[in-house]
Amino acid sequence: MNRIKKNRYKDKAFKIWGIFCTLLGIVLLAIFIGSILIDGIQRIDWEFITNLPSRKAERAGIWTALMGSVWILVLTTIIALPVGIAAAIYLEEYAKKGKLANLLEINISNLAGVPSIIYGLLGLEIFVRIIQMGSSVLAGSFTLALLILPIVIVSTREALKAVPKSIRDASYALGASKWQTVSRQLLPASSGGILTGVILALSRAVGETAPLIVIGALAYVPFAPSSPMDEFSVLPIQIFNWISRPQHGFEVNAAAGIIILLLITFLMNGVAVYFRNKWQKKFK
């Protein structure tokens, strides 16, 4: 009897501990975001967004970096999306059980775990050097596209898997070919899931710093890229650059930049979660 009471107390204690742990991360993050808001929010105004970099912290803005990030996002999407979705379709709908499918499977799972900086080294050697793209937006986009490719593939496969088998049966039974079934039924039906995965992958890309540093994104670029071959900077690099400066004013800028970057990431995640919820209902 006593023993059972003790067990119950332990149980209660663990419950409290569990709540504590669950909230720990989130509360720390909230505190941090709070302190960043305090540091940086008053720094954010239209000028901060549209100003070019400056040696004077109070004049410096994030325009170049913001546009660099936008360019990177767009190009990365254009490169990674078709390949990633096509690969996922192949693996999920076409590949037969066997050595090749197995190899692809292991390979993709491994790629997903390769540290991002390694992709930077790959991009440096292949895109920057061998293909001679230089430290351009395009080289950066290719590098990040490879980086998010496994994520796009995995999430697209999940989305395709979620389409009930009965839909495939129905389509094949009506005489549809494989591609007709894929393009007319499976892709539309899984679009919500694919979209979710892609947005999440892109939100990862928008926060990546290390691989772009490795391929040589610049510190001072006082103009927004106007072509894929232009040099560029992105938000996280701009933030990193400001963190690296010893003057306090730049620390404020970094905080303000972080607010913008977090806003973008959280927005993307929010949109993704929204689509996921909307889409999941479809099959339930």
Binding site: L52, S54, R55, R59, V128, Q132, M133, G134, S135, S136, A139, L218, A219, Y220, V221, P222, F223, M229, E231, I243, S244, R245, P246, Q247
Partner: protein, 296 residues
């Protein structure tokens, strides 16, 4: 990559010293007000890194915190690159410690050498090894990375051979690493450009250096009159002749640089040359332009 060069003439590509970077950045920023059409990009690869690109013809202008070296010259020659060296400012190297450090006020060049020479690596690790009166604590060293001219200059001035140094210190191109490192560490010691110290005088304490003639603190005065020896030096920019030839904006930019440097330098914490010296630089440049610009 050198794609930039082919893209037309409205861009100026600069790379090199992180010490000179704030000066050039300031100039570039002001220049934008004069000619907003020109895209000026400035990399921070350190003086050595900058010269490598410059020697390959990838940049129009190279920032340098020391003169070009023979081997770097040779590469430039190999690639048929003709260039001009211009002095633009003076800088002093500041040796800094944590504000809580109450035992060092002045350090001799001998002591610095003992601390930084290659042989110190793994051997000289505690404060009291340099001066028995100093605490028996591990010393944490911070300094610029090997690609920087500051590093070359410091090693040359202190150790006696450029680039010769111990390797077991926090070597970073990222100046905040150095500032944060020393300001967050009671037993830290570091060196970097005077300009950076001035921006952080609240977090760091400067140490006077005894070059053989007594302890001297670096200041605008002691740097420009040369009494802060051996840790003061001139800063340079190098201009590529073909850029001068092909891109009139480069000429505009350099002229603007030499005109505006005296007024802007104070902003960024460096010491200007004398008026006479600036005049000489301008004349040199005018002659260089004359030589390379095709007659219209």
């Amino acid at each position: 990559g050198n794609n930039k060069k082919d893209k037309g003439t409205s861009s100026i590509n600069i790379d090199g010293s992180s010490t000179v970077y704030p000066v050039t950045e300031a100039i570039a920023e002001e220049f934008r007000a004069v000619d907003p059409e020109v895209d000026v990009t400035i990399g921070v690869s350190g003086t050595g890194g900058g010269f490598k690109k410059f020697g390959r013809g990838e940049t129009d202008i190279s920032n340098a915190s020391r003169p070009i070296k023979e081997n770097e010259k040779a590469i430039a020659e190999q690639n048929d690159i003709d260039y001009l060296e211009l002095e633009v400012a003076y800088d002093g190297l500041a040796v800094v410690v944590n504000p809580e450090n109450d035992w060092v006020d002045c350090i001799t060049v001998e002591q610095l050498k003992k601390l930084w020479e290659p042989g110190a690596q793994g051997n000289i690790t505690r404060w009291n090894q340099i001066n028995p009166e100093w605490p028996d604590e591990e010393i944490h060293l911070f300094g610029p990375g090997v690609a920087s001219g500051t590093f070359d200059y410091f090693t040359e001035a202190v150790v006696g051979e450029s680039g010769s140094s111990r390797g077991d210190y926090t070597a970073s191109e990222d100046d905040n690493v150095l500032v944060q490192g020393v300001s967050g560490d009671k037993y830290g010691l570091g060196f970097f450009g005077l300009a950076y110290f001035e921006e952080n005088s609240d977090k760091l304490r400067m140490v006077a250096v005894d070059g053989g003639e007594g302890c001297v603190e670096p200041s605008t005065q002691t740097v420009s009159d040369g009494s802060y020896a051996p840790l003061s030096r001139p800063l340079f920019v190098y201009v590529n002749s073909s850029s001068v030839k092909n891109n009139p904006k480069v000429v505009d930019f350099i002229n603007f640089y030499l005109d505006e440097a005296p007024s802007l330098l104070k902003d960024v914490g460096y010491v200007p040359l004398t008026d006479a010296e600036y005049k000489e630089q301008k004349e040199n440049f005018a002659a260089f332009v004359e030589k390379h610009q095709p007659k219209k």
